[in-house]
Symmetry: D2
Subunit: 347 residues, 4 copies
């Protein structure tokens, strides 16, 4: 039984980790920290866990995580970089769901996140936790930086196009028009996230530049081996969970005869959590609600020169906590799907 | 492995049965019928099941269900009564999620449902599938009539009050103000259920008399051994799943000193799927979303003579498919919680 | 043109006042104060007002409201009582949308609102702003305390029953099961009001005792001339605007022959903003969305001894800002409906 | 007072026409037809109109519309083309909200709408009802074909870029990623539009080709005088009203120095219903909810070569009924804004 610690368990990624690990046959949460909620029963804050998790939040200052096999950071950016070195030194593996270990170039991190990076020596070792791209490295990693929710959808959506050794589409001008449910903004009391403000409403945000952009261009570049240009516009959907990415790429003249449906099906043929749907499909976010599946459909409207790729995931599961558990399974030699086989609750 | 047949699997209770049984360690769906969808892959209609259920809908006229161990009817009222006799004769157990076997008095059934009852000889044998009330009878039943979604909430909410041998509240004047998500109306194309009509909106319906009323008064009478008077007003909530029942009962003068919190806690102490919350709680439907739990809180505002009992359940799980699987588990000697341990997905 | 000042215009009642008065033919907002937003263009905060209101928030310390004809307080409780005396002395009329002048008994106010009342000498003069009950007094009032949103629905829903000189129902045991959209909680950043928390969810709150209770029992007592007993349970609906009150009253034996439909129709026959719907109706909140109408339907299920009265209103309009404008119209001799004739936007 | 007839008043565009014209100072609905609802009071179907519209639906076969000044068709495609000739011959002006008179090329119409065009001789005369583009022609038109909801957003969003005489962006590869509330699908009972299916969910649809595509490319071509290439992907948002178009265009090298913010502001400077928001804005659909405003924001992420234009409108108002009233005002010499000055109801 893997002993799991969670740092910062009062947000949505933290509570989703709790939900998943409480149902995991091979792992158990033994400690969960919160600066503000020391001593509070977890199930008091999250009544869905009543009877399923008998644990209290504990003050991080008073909590030793060195006995854990793995510690998840479900914290604001900056916490994991401060605590990871000591945990790693104690032989604990670390999975960070924040951005501290996503971006390889510390200067890029510092520009987009507005804080100095205090553990730059770990950036080289840290593995980017996208199993469909980095599976082998994740298996042996001590330190994993989990992708953001949007970057997971964008990278897995574009990957088959970019991974072919030669360019199939205009890689300088990719467009990712992404839409997310509000839980992606986290469990924080902000006016714009109130039901009275955000429901029966739709808007774009972060058009000038969203933090998930540099992470995604880094990942797409790693997949293709070439630099890519990406326009990424996120939008806020009046729903709780789910991301749909609508990805646009202009097919190069020399690739007009490629069978993109087959390309995608082959690329993801053996993946347990990526489902390439039949041609003509329009995946719905609810088809992955509360599950770790990501579904993709490939379209080429009017048989023209534009490819439209639709990607759906649950931002809290495949986009965060589920993918983190998937990485944990790989790191500890468990079945990759262990504890992640919940079928989407739909309707 | 229990071989399960489902008659009428294209509605919400049917698809919820599919979701639950596909994750059940001891049962497997071997046949699912639909008059209109013969030959269609189930996962085509319900993409959430892609990769998890390899089965096609089959025409009921062409499908033998006699090899099943148990057949669930997730059909309109009237279908189960027509087909149950032959199945029972073939040794198949039957669990009906419609109303055919809920009401003991055929005349009452016929009045409220507007159809003759063609299997009245089975009404005596049929067991009402409310485990917290009828557990022993369910274990040995061949034929189970599952409670409606509202009746489950109302009966489990009032039961501790009524089961004490003597009246604690004015049983002639119970009030159940109930609120349900729209999935309770079924998967049918009706104007009033459109998102454009039902969202950002709230209304009562069925005020003059809802079919779940006679079933509930029958059940409450069976619990108390006395006849009860109930006002039941259902409302439509702009959400997908969930029922909240707000139950009002006037405390009798001789019961003013009863500790109702303790009464409820004791009554449900050993129940795996009924959670009596601490005093002062206000249960939320999302705390049971997509799970088989039902949560109760007991209030006595101003220490006055009115008891207010709050009950939440997922209408499709504890109010329908989950409770039906719970009955199946009992009927086949499995652990009662088998396949029903999903934690509510919240948020 | 009536010169209107608004104190505290950044909440929902404030912004709704702005929307209504910007479309009012006989009134104009000349000043709007906010402690935090001094100098900010109002339309910057509320883009719906772009091009329709050319006004900036101003610091209350720097703003003289003595030139206004009327000042609306859309503030937290306690502000109006502090500022009303000076305004009244300057000849300005005052309409308070908070609770400062709702409750006649300062001790009751202090108990429920947890603050001392600093303008008790005005409580006698203050008129309760429910036009259908107090129209004549409002016309000549200098100071009006507007009803809360729930109290408006409950009082107008029960009033015809209680106003008959003799009791028709058991007035000691009225029940008001009320449901409100989240805007009723105000424009404040609280976790429980986030879309991710409150949508696809339903719950009761304030069961132990809500501040709108003493105001309502006071109002009902004033209508009937007798003391009344009321159980009031509010619920949070995942929608923006709207209240539905489901009111229950037990008919007295001597009133079993009363034609309650006719009683209600006659009572509200001449009211421009109260619509008694035909027998059998189930009013929907969207039928009054963004309008000042309140609709009522009267039911007597099974011709029994329980009356069920359904009341819908928009909590921000008839339950707050619209009713306040209605009072302003009365106070200044305008047509009562002036500026309040918007038809509900439905769907 | 303009006498208005409405053919097909039971859908959302029809009911929205009723709402707007009932509040219009210069027009009055004198007849409204419905094949199925002959004799039904309109306010019975649309309770929001109770007390505001005293009119019954009438059978079209029994209803003479020749006395009307103008007839609106809020019908399925194909009805207006059948009835317009006779009405025009009788001197009645016709405004069609369906697609019959949108597309100039009958062959294109017939390909996309799957029906023959029976009034091709009127296609030349019909004016496309987009006032910001065709104001002069609308003033003198007898027959107006109203734009679709998406085409209104796309054309007004791209128009300033295309109307400059020379190309500023790659006009062969425009992308319009559009998102609409469900009312855009009309008031029809379809499974996919149920709240239980469409809420807490997001999906694309019509990716292979949506009927609004040929209309939009025709319109954009008319604006620019050049042919344009457009990828248009519509999405379904779990909200009632509103469209957001996220438009992408690649800036040509020779136009990299253009100040697009100023270009847009100048283009729409005098328009009463188009609001170019300040640089950096992200318009929300609720800021135009139930109003005739359309708001635009212009972005150029990272000062790169991609322009991102955000456009919001209420699909039922500026995207349908409101714009139709705007055309009526022009056709009859009324103030263009008459009856259309409702401020968006937000929240």
């Amino acid at each position: 039984m893997i002993k799991v610690g969670i740092v910062g368990g009062t947000g949505y990624t933290g509570s989703e980790l709790l939900r998943l690990i409480a149902q995991h046959p091979g792992a158990q949460v033994v400690a969960i920290t919160s600066r503000n909620e020391d001593g509070l029963e977890v199930a008091k804050m999250f009544p869905a866990l009543r009877g399923r998790l008998n644990l209290k939040f504990s003050d991080p200052a008073k909590t030793s995580l060195a006995d854990c096999d793995v510690v998840f950071f479900a914290t604001p950016h900056g916490v994991a970089m401060a605590q990871a070195p000591a945990l790693l030194a104690a032989g604990v593996r670390v999975i960070d769901l924040a951005a501290d270990f996503r971006i390889k170039d510390a200067a890029v991190f510092e520009k987009w996140y507005g804080m100095a990076h205090s553990a730059q020596d770990l950036l080289g070792e840290a593995v980017y936790g996208l199993p469909e791209v980095n599976r082998a490295a994740i298996r042996t990693a001590r330190l994993v930086g989990m992708p953001g929710c949007y970057p997971t959808a964008m990278q897995l959506g574009f990957a088959p196009l970019l991974a072919q050794g030669h360019a199939l589409v205009d890689e300088s001008h990719l467009i990712a028009d992404c839409k997310s449910g509000v839980s992606g903004a986290g469990r924080k009391a902000e006016l714009g996230l109130l039901l009275a403000e955000a429901s029966d409403n739709f808007k774009a945000y972060g058009v000038a530049g969203h933090r998930h952009l540099p992470e995604t261009t880094q990942g797409l570049g790693a997949i293709s081996g070439r630099s890519v240009g990406l326009n990424f516009v996120p939008h806020l959907v009046p729903m709780i969970r789910g991301i749909l990415g609508t990805l646009y790429a202009r097919i190069l003249p020399e690739a007009m005869d490629v069978d993109f449906q087959t390309l995608y099906e082959r690329h993801y043929h053996d993946e347990p959590f990526v489902d390439v749907m039949p041609a003509g499909s329009t995946p719905e976010t609810r088809s992955v609600r509360a599950s770790n599946m990501l579904r993709i459909a490939v379209h080429r409207p009017g048989a023209g020169d534009t490819l439209v790729v639709l990607v759906v995931e649950d931002n809290l599961v495949k986009g965060a906590a589920g993918q983190a558990v998937q990485c944990m399974n790989l790191m500890f030699g468990l079945a990759e799907t262990s504890g992640l086989e919940q079928i989407a609750a739909s309707p």
